[in-house]
């Protein structure tokens, strides 16, 4: 990590990124790449795919840093994480090539750990929603349940996620 940027605050970093400062870009990589790579690994099956996702995310971030303030996010990390998920879902190997075991085998990463703590019905909905990027309507069709039921199950999972974060990282 660049020594001159070691204690830079996020606002100043965003300003320097908007100016195209290469040191700021390197700092953005050094600070968040590990955590984002972990998120990508939880979403895609292979390390190669996860690396491809990270390259796309940073390339996007360097060119769209100006949109951060209108994104509704407060931290650069969650802004980048959201894009990481979006790209990871695009890069994902099609369902036909997966047995479903790959995700369950992976027990590393905060989201995988949380997923494993959920009751079975919430696990299924959360997996299809977060890890697969499917809409509530699609999940409802797959699980042969009404949309309202899926929505309620997902909300339950989100309430659990809130408690999970609060109890471990408050």
């Amino acid at each position: 990590m660049r020594r001159d940027l070691a204690h830079i605050n996020e606002q100043l970093l965003i300003e320097r990124l908007a100016l195209g400062d290469p040191a700021a870009k390197e700092w953005l990589y050094d600070k968040y790449a590990g955590a984002l790579y972990s998120i990508a690994l939880q979403l895609v099956v292979t390390e190669t795919k996860a690396a491809d996702v990270i390259v796309r995310v940073y390339n996007w971030a360097f060119h769209h840093i100006g949109s951060f303030h209108t994104s509704g996010h407060h931290s650069l990390f969650t802004w980048l994480m959201r894009k990481t998920r979006e790209y990871a879902i695009q890069e994902m190997i099609p369902d036909s090539a997966l047995t479903g075991a790959e995700l369950i085998k992976q027990e590393e990463g905060i989201l995988q750990k949380f997923y494993l703590l959920l009751p079975t019905d919430q696990q299924q909905v959360f997996r299809l929603s977060f890890f697969k990027g499917l809409s509530v309507a699609t999940i409802a069709r797959i699980m042969a349940q009404p949309d309202e039921q899926i929505n309620e199950t997902l909300k339950e999972a989100m309430r659990s996620f809130r408690q999970y974060l609060k109890s471990n990282w408050n």
Binding site: Y29, K155, A157
Partner: protein, 155 residues
């Protein structure tokens, strides 16, 4: 009370993870305008998630940094030098979005221009000296008949 219930519903977590529907996002933006303190709660949730992700983060592969920053280096040329030495090589990158084009370092342009000019210079010199050689040969044989006779005698 309404706000507390709203926050406890996990809507912020859903929004941050990108799972909220369009209607839920719209409602959240509306609530943010009504209750500015909601922004503080969003900030808290985002920082919480950030800390959680940092706790679990593995080291990404070494070459990933080069892949991410190579475009930055190209765009900045010599103005930016990588603090970590050992990256003194030329990238030829196949652009992932377009398989019909490749991206090369801008110095290749200068190299090709010099190569083109030098090839023209050498071609010109080759023709010039060839013609000069031919002319010398012709002059030599026409201006010195004795030399011609000597050649005939010798053969």
């Amino acid at each position: 009370m309404e706000l507390k219930f709203y926050i406890e519903s996990g809507i912020i977590e859903s929004y941050v993870l990108g799972l909220a529907t369009e209607e839920e996002v719209y409602e959240l933006q509306h609530m943010r305008r009504l209750y500015p303190e909601l922004d503080t709660e969003i900030d808290i949730v985002e920082r919480r998630l950030e800390r959680a992700a940092f706790d679990e983060s593995p080291l990404p592969p070494m070459e990933l940094k080069d892949r991410v920053l190579q475009r930055v280096r190209w765009e900045n040329g010599n103005a930016y030098t990588e603090p970590d030495p050992g990256s003194n090589y030329t990238f030829i990158n196949i652009h992932p979005q377009d398989k019909n084009h490749i991206l090369v370092h801008k110095w290749w342009k200068i190299f090709f221009i010099i190569f083109f000019i030098m090839s023209k210079v050498f071609l010109f010199l080759a023709i010039f000296y060839y013609l000069k050689y031919r002319q010398t040969q012709e002059n030599h044989s026409s201006l010195h008949p004795v030399f011609q006779q000597e050649q005939v005698t010798a053969s």
